[in-house]
């Protein structure tokens, strides 16, 4: 059974693409045949984060328009077995996508025995974001610890409930997961950011993980390497934990919620 998971948020720049890349890579590393689709037509950057931008020949719009085959369009990852990238088009706009066209692509992916389809959603609550979430069985709602981001997430949860295929067909609702990204415990303590408890209380959905704010994320993006492959980084480990929870280990304790204890020197100098 193929599972389709959308990574969505409403707001831009919260870490959807970073998350899509790491979740897809993490699942493939555990042996699941996984494809990650960039729905951000016109602003593609998943291929950069995955480090395959020079290997893009065809893209999602070509595939939707039946100008290329699945085999021609999917890019196989060079590091991880079982991992494929379906890039977005740089040149077309979002109107090039249609639900019927995407339905055909989803059908082909299911026939190719993919275990997971990860959909990296564009920002906003317009057509592009709605396309990305339409076929979802599960949703990873990516939220930063800020009021505006939480509110957009609330909004997108409403859209998942009313505009996904599952809701339109009256099927079991989309399973919702909260992923808090760019979490900075120091700034939470100062009251500049919302705490994990605040966010969980506001959104009232199960917590999949907390990804700390970390400069490693940008370094990895620049290298074209999903941060989950960096075992030494806290962000990488936090994504690994999130994979465990996604695969059913829901009681796994959350890490990286506390501000690091200040060392002797920094205590001296405040």
């Amino acid at each position: 059974m193929t599972k389709t998971i959308v990574v969505t948020s409403g707001k831009g720049g919260v870490g959807k693409t970073t998350t899509s890349a790491s979740i897809a890579t993490g699942l493939a590393k555990r042996g699941y045949k996984t494809v990650v689709i960039d729905f951000d037509v016109g602003l593609r950057n998943l291929d950069l984060v995955m480090g395959c931008e020079r290997r893009v020949v065809y893209d999602l719009v070509n595939l939707v328009n039946q100008e290329s085959s699945l085999h021609q369009t999917l890019i196989k990852d060079k590091r991880i077995e079982n991992l494929y990238i379906l890039p977005a088009s740089q040149t077309r706009d979002k109107d090039a996508l249609t639900i019927e066209g995407i339905a055909r692509v989803m059908h082909k992916l299911k026939k190719s025995d993919f275990d997971y389809i990860i959909c990296d959603s564009p920002a906003g609550i317009e057509k592009g974001a709605k396309m990305a979430l339409y076929f979802a069985d599960e949703a990873i709602v990516t939220t930063n610890p800020e009021v505006s981001s939480v509110r957009d997430s609330d909004r997108i949860l409403g859209i998942l409930q009313s505009e996904s295929k599952r809701s339109k067909m009256n099927e079991e609702p989309v399973k919702e997961h909260l992923l808090i990204t760019r979490y900075n415990p120091g700034r939470v303590k100062d009251g500049q950011m919302l705490s994990v408890d605040d966010i969980v209380d506001l959104l009232a959905i199960p917590l999949l993980g907390i990804i700390p704010e970390s400069p490693t994320v940008l370094d990895c993006s620049n290298e074209g390497k999903p941060v989950i492959l960096d075992d030494d980084s806290e962000a990488g480990q936090a994504y690994s934990d999130a994979i465990d929870r996604l695969l059913g280990e829901i009681t796994k304790p959350h890490r990286f919620m506390e501000a690091p204890k200040k060392g002797f020197l920094s205590r001296l100098f405040g």
């Binding site: 609550i125 509110r151 909004r155 949860l157 409403g158 409930q161 009313s162 506001l202 959104l203 009232a204």
Partner: protein, 254 residues
């Protein structure tokens, strides 16, 4: 390719809001519609309505311009889809520029929604703002039939609207900021109210709002409303009830 049908023509029953006009005076209609719509702008925006002209059929078209009345309805962001007359071939019918239907929409709509209620399958209507509150704007002849409350056991999210027509609304879960919960009767929220709650929207002033944590953007009882800024800070985040007393909105801790 399969020969799957691309279209299917079927009979169907839909519930629409109907707007009964009791006067041809555009100023009065304008004013009353503005008052009504302002209570729940998001709820009424782009909502299809049946414009019921049956009370004006006796007037001749020299006395008023039906299309001007329809235009007036449009200006309030309602979408007139059809005009209803008790007799389609009455002279008034010829002058109306939108499609016509015949008969009493009012009773049909009421019956339909009662059936729907009793079959217990009354879910939230954010995608179906067509539920009837017919006649409530201009007439005031609202009958309250005892009905099962509308029961929502999941969070109401930002951007969603829920309307409990002629009944109580019970919500188990939070009402998010930017969400709107509306009822003709009482509203009970077992969770924080962070969005807008409007009870008694058809004019029932003896209705109340209850919530376990008051953080609302706006609360309104039968059209009297208060915004967050004017809610006393000591009541914020506390269980509270909101009701009307001598025409004044009261908010008290539970």
């Amino acid at each position: 390719m399969s020969s799957k049908a691309g279209v299917e023509l079927k009979g169907g029953m839909y519930t629409f809001m109907s707007l009964k006009l009791h006067t041809s005076d555009t100023d009065i209609i304008n004013q009353q519609l503005a008052d009504k719509v302002q209570q729940a702008p998001a709820f009424f925006k782009n909502t299809p309505v049946v414009v019921d002209f049956s009370a004006l059929e006796a007037l001749t078209d020299e006395q008023f311009d039906a299309n001007e009345l329809i235009e007036c309805v449009r200006r309030h962001k309602l979408v007139p889809i059809v005009a209803s007359l008790s007799n389609k071939s009455s002279p008034l019918g010829d002058s109306i520029a939108i499609p016509l239907i015949e008969g009493s929409v009012r009773s049909a709509a009421t019956q339909k929604s009662t059936e729907k209620q009793s079959s217990q399958e009354q879910t939230e209507e954010q995608n179906e703002p067509s539920s009837a509150i017919e006649g409530s704007t201009i007439s005031r002849e609202v009958e309250f039939i005892v009905k099962a409350p509308l029961f929502i056991n999941k969070p109401v999210r930002s951007g969603q609207q829920i309307y409990a027509r002629e009944t109580d609304l019970i919500i188990m879960g939070p009402v998010g900021p930017g969400a709107e919960v509306i009822a003709d009767n009482n509203i009970h929220i077992y969770g924080p109210l962070r969005g807008r709650a409007l009870c008694g929207v058809s004019g029932n002033a003896s209705t109340r709002i209850f919530c376990t944590s008051l953080e609302a953007e706006l609360v309104s009882v039968a059209g009297s409303f208060r915004m967050l800024e004017t809610i006393p800070p000591e009541l914020r985040g506390k269980p509270a009830q909101i009701w009307l007393e001598d025409g004044k909105l009261r908010i008290e801790p539970l």
